[in-house]
Structures are given as C-alpha cells and as structure tokens.
Amino acid sequence: MTRRLIRGATLALATGGAVAALPLHAETTTATDPRGLMAAQTCAGCHGTKGYIEDSAYVPLAGMPRERFITAMESFADGSRPSTLMGPLARAFTDEEIAAMADYFEAQPKERARAIDPASDQTTGQALDPEEN
C-alpha cells in the first residue's frame, strides 16, 4: 500500500464504547446446551467446523479452555482487546450464549470433525445433539 489510509490518530477500537459486562453464570449452561451449538456453529465459517482449523490466521477454538474463550469474548465486546470484527460480533451474543459456546468449544477435540460411524449417533457426541436438554 502506497498511501496512508489513516486520517485521525484516534485508536479505532475504543469507539465501540464500553458495554457493561454482566457476570456470566457458568452453572446455567453445560456442554450439551443447544444454545451453545446453535451459537457456536455460526463461528465455524471462519474458525473451522467445531472450531477445528489448521494453518490459518484464524484462532482454533476447539479445545479452548472455557475461561479463555469467555475472557476473549468479554474483552472483544468492551473494546479492551483490539479486533477488526470480533468486537461487533461479541457484542451481539448474550452472556448465556457466550458461556454455552465456551462449554461447547472446550468439549471439542482438537482434530477434524467427521461422521466416522454412520451407524451410531454417538460418534458425534451427545454434546452435538440439539435435542439434548
């Protein structure tokens, strides 16, 4: 790039403003929470199916400790962690969804997802069953 795109020196990511981070209630969700699957699968278009991804600028989410996931989403949302688009996205999910997503990703193996054994629903894990709970 030859030209500077910068007009102001203001730090861009502060613009989101502080969104009050409500306490997250870990007790209210489990890895089988259908809200976790529903919200988490929307991440996969960049972060890989069930959060598994290799050789990418995107951070793998599979197997990420839940506290790390929650802290990341909270700090994207309040702008304390700089991001391009994770700020707006993190702000659009509820605390319960974020906790449920955290549980979901923590439970995912750090390897590629596949329906190995079509004879058994168990292979994909109860955690994936939207009818559970």
Binding site: L5, C46, L89
Partner: protein, 450 residues
C-alpha cells in the same frame, strides 16, 4: 386457504393410505434427505446433517463433477489467482462424510409423491427436500443483453465458470487508458459488496499497468451498497476518488470534512441511482451503454443483470412474483410446498444478505431443524451470522461487514449495531481485514466442503 389448512388437508388425504405403513416404514429405513445443488448451501447442509444426524441418508444432486466457488472469484479476472484455484472437489463430502452424489440436473419435483426427477431420467424419493440452486439471471431486464452475449462480448462473470476467463482476456487486451463500465444489479443480489470490489480490483490492475488516464465507471441503479461507508472512504484515499455529493448522508459532518476533494480525480466514478446510473440498454456492436444519465462509450462492459432464484426454483413454483422463494424463516420450509426447504441465495431470508456466509449459516440451522423435524420434534430457535470480507482493489486493503441475526417475530432481523470498520480505522486494521479475507477463502471452503 392458509398453509396450515393446506397441510391439514394434505395430511388427511394421505393418512388413510399410509397410517398402517408409516410406522413400519419408519422403523425399517433411514430418513431420506435429498439436496438439489452442491453449492455452498447444499454442501454445508449435507455435511452438517451427517455430523449431527449420521443415520440420515443424504443425497446431493448436482450436475457438476467439481464445484467452482463464486466467492472470491473476481480475483481470477485480475490475475491474483487462477481459475483452478476456485475449483473445489466433492471427494471429502463423499468419502469422509458418506454423502451420496448423483451428478445430474433436477428437472422436476413431484410434491405429492415426494420425488424428484432428473434430466437423466432418475427418480429419487425424499422425506425432506432441500433446494439450494443459487441464482439465475434476468437478461431481458436490460435491452440488448442476452444469455448468448454473456458468454462472449458481455460476460457478467457472476457465477464463476468460463465467463471469468472471457472477462480476464478482455481486460488483458484492453487498449491503453480504456473506459470500463461496470453495472451492478439492483437489490437483492448475491454478494452485495462484490461489484464494487471488482471495480476496485480492475482500477488497481489498470493503475499497475501504468494507465494513469483509465476510467472505471460504475453505472448503478442504487444509491448505496453494503460496505459503502468503508469502500468509498478507502477509494477516496487510494484512488483519488471523489465521493459523489448524494452519498454525503452516509457520513457525519465531521467525517465528511475529513474526506478529500481531488482536483484530478482517479479512475473510479460512481454514478449513483439518483445521478442517473440506472442502465437502460446496451449495444455489444458499438460497445455503448445507455443509462438514464446518458450514453457511455466503453472498451469493456461488465453488466451484472438483475438476479432471481435458480431456474429450478422458478420452474417448480417455489418462487413468488419477486423471483425469490418465500420460506418459514425459522425452518426454511417453503411456504408454497410442504416438506421442501429452500436456502441460500434463492430464498427470502429477512435481513440476511445473499452471500456464501449466509447460505452456510442457514444450512447449519437447517441441519439442526431437519434433525428435529425428522424426529417429530419442534424446531429450535435459530441464530445466524454473516461475515463478508471485501477488498478495496489494492489487495492489502480489506474491509468487512459482520452481522448476527435472530428471529423478530416471523422474520430474520439483524441484531448488531456497528458492522463496518470505523471511519478512523488504522492502516493496520485495513491490512488485517485483507489478511483475514485471504485466509477466509480456505477456512470457509473447508467448513462447507471438507
């Protein structure tokens, strides 16, 4: 008669004949889901349905042996990538996920018998049918445009394929300092930032070639587009682009004051709808475009005609007068025909755009809903996302739109507030967005097809 009554009648009609057979049949055979179209929507539905409900029998009917992704395909024209880079194999879906493929074209759907018929004469029965046929083009809407000319003189190159190569060759054989006309379609259409990204890529390509006096004229029926706020700003900076006065309302007074008015504007001109940008006719012989604002003589013409749902959806009565398919936006079940779900570009999905990310997000929700419905359970409350990256032209300057969607009554609505890079984004942020754009092509393709 509303849909519920219709279903009741339908149910009553079939109950007598199938009441004995149904429980037996259910116990004996796996549920069958047939998918029309192995593009983004169809492939993602198949893969996720197999992940979430491996017992379901999933068949994709798709004429092409290999998919060519439309997303990110403009870079084929300007040579950042080759045509082979957008070719995607179906092998992973077949072998890793156990999805059946029939390489054929669906010609008819028998909604009563719950059967599809292919051009090759095969009949396939289904319990639930998924239709994700992408788009078709309304050539008749613009005088002088035809499907034949799109293959030769006037390629739209909006559905991957060889038209990309035709356009690439036309670009490469342009005289010095040419005039290029780009005609974005009216709303709604697939990939809202796409025509403008293409204009930027072509402008950059011409500048790189040393054409300092080239013109890239965008003749637009619209007054705005997704990412316009970022794209116009980036062009103002990169290409000495003057943002037309009618676009002023997109910016605050303070922001507008920071934009530059260039005495010697660069290649890109945006003739907005309010400025007469709507194209009325085109003449491939004389290479002229007639717009409301006047006549434009061009060396290269890239008009993207108005779009409609894929042909099969229109022919089989799944589309309404708008040319798109109305669905129950929670389950994507057609409001015109029961047990048939339409997703992706072809469907009407509230505030969701016609994009690959949207088709992929809808497909995953559909996989969850199909699993529930096939088991006789209620559908689940959906959440959707759309993230579309775009380049300014310079491939190191990127931008995006990022949205989350939820149901608002019966309609899918956007729930986020900020969705673009902010006005005062740093150079590093534009660069990062471009880096993510390039990584997204692989990551996204894997989520859909591997």
């Amino acid at each position: 008669m509303n849909r519920r009554d219709f279903l009741k009648i339908l149910g009553a009609g079939t109950a007598a004949t199938s009441s004995l057979a149904a429980p037996l049949a259910r116990a004996e055979r796996a549920p069958r889901v047939v998918i029309v179209g192995g593009g983004v929507g169809g492939a993602t539905t198949a893969k996720y349905l197999k992940l979430y409900a491996p017992h379901v029998n999933v068949t994709i009917i798709e004429p092409k042996r290999e998919y060519q992704r439309p997303y990110g395909s403009s870079e084929v024209i300007t040579g950042q990538i080759e045509l082979e880079d957008i070719v995607i194999s179906y092998d992973d879906l077949k072998t890793r996920h156990g999805i059946e493929f029939v390489h054929d074209t669906v010609e008819a759907i028998d909604f009563e018998a719950k059967q599809v018929r292919t051009a090759g004469g095969q009949r396939l029965g289904y319990d639930r049918l998924v239709v994700s046929p992408g788009v078709s083009f309304d050539f008749e809407a613009i005088d002088g445009l035809t499907a034949e000319l799109a293959e030769t003189r006037l390629p739209h190159a909006w559905d991957a394929g060889d038209q990309l190569l035709v356009l690439k060759e036309q670009l490469e054989s342009l005289p010095e300092n040419p005039t290029v006309v780009i005609g974005p379609p009216p709303n709604p259409y697939r990939c809202p930032p796409g025509p403008y990204e293409r204009a930027g890529l072509i402008a950059q390509w011409l500048l790189d070639r040393g054409d300092t006096q080239a013109r890239v004229v965008i003749l637009d029926p619209k007054n705005g587009f997704t990412t316009d706020y970022t794209m116009l700003h980036a062009w103002n900076d990169l290409y000495d682009f003057n943002i037309p006065e009618p676009a002023r309302s997109k910016y605050s007074d303070e922001e507008w004051a920071q934009l530059t008015v260039h005495d010697n504007p660069g290649p890109i001109e945006w003739v907005m709808g309010d400025m007469g940008g709507r194209i009325l006719s085109v003449d491939a012989e004389t290479m002229t475009v007639e717009a409301e604002a006047g006549t434009f003589q061009a060396d290269l013409i890239n008009i993207i005609p108005p779009l409609k749902a894929g042909r099969i959806a229109i022919d089989q009565d799944l589309a309404d007068d708008s040319g798109w398919c109305p669905v129950d936006q929670r389950t994507f079940e057609s409001t015109r025909h029961a047990d048939v779900h339409v997703i992706g570009d072809a469907c009407i999905a509230g505030a969701m755009p016609k994009s690959g990310y949207a088709a992929n997000s809808q497909a995953k929700v559909l996989a969850i809903q199909l699993k529930a419905l096939l088991a006789g359970n209620d559908p689940v409350e959906p959440v959707f996302q759309n993230t579309c990256y775009a380049l300014a032209g310079n491939t190191e300057v990127g931008m995006f739109v990022a949205d989350v969607f939820r149901m608002d009554g019966d309609t899918i609505a956007r729930v986020d507030e900020q969705r673009y890079l902010p006005f005062d984004a740093t150079e590093a942020e534009y660069r990062l967005a471009a880096l993510y754009q390039h990584n997204w092509m692989k990551a996204f393709t894997e989520d859909c097809f591997s």
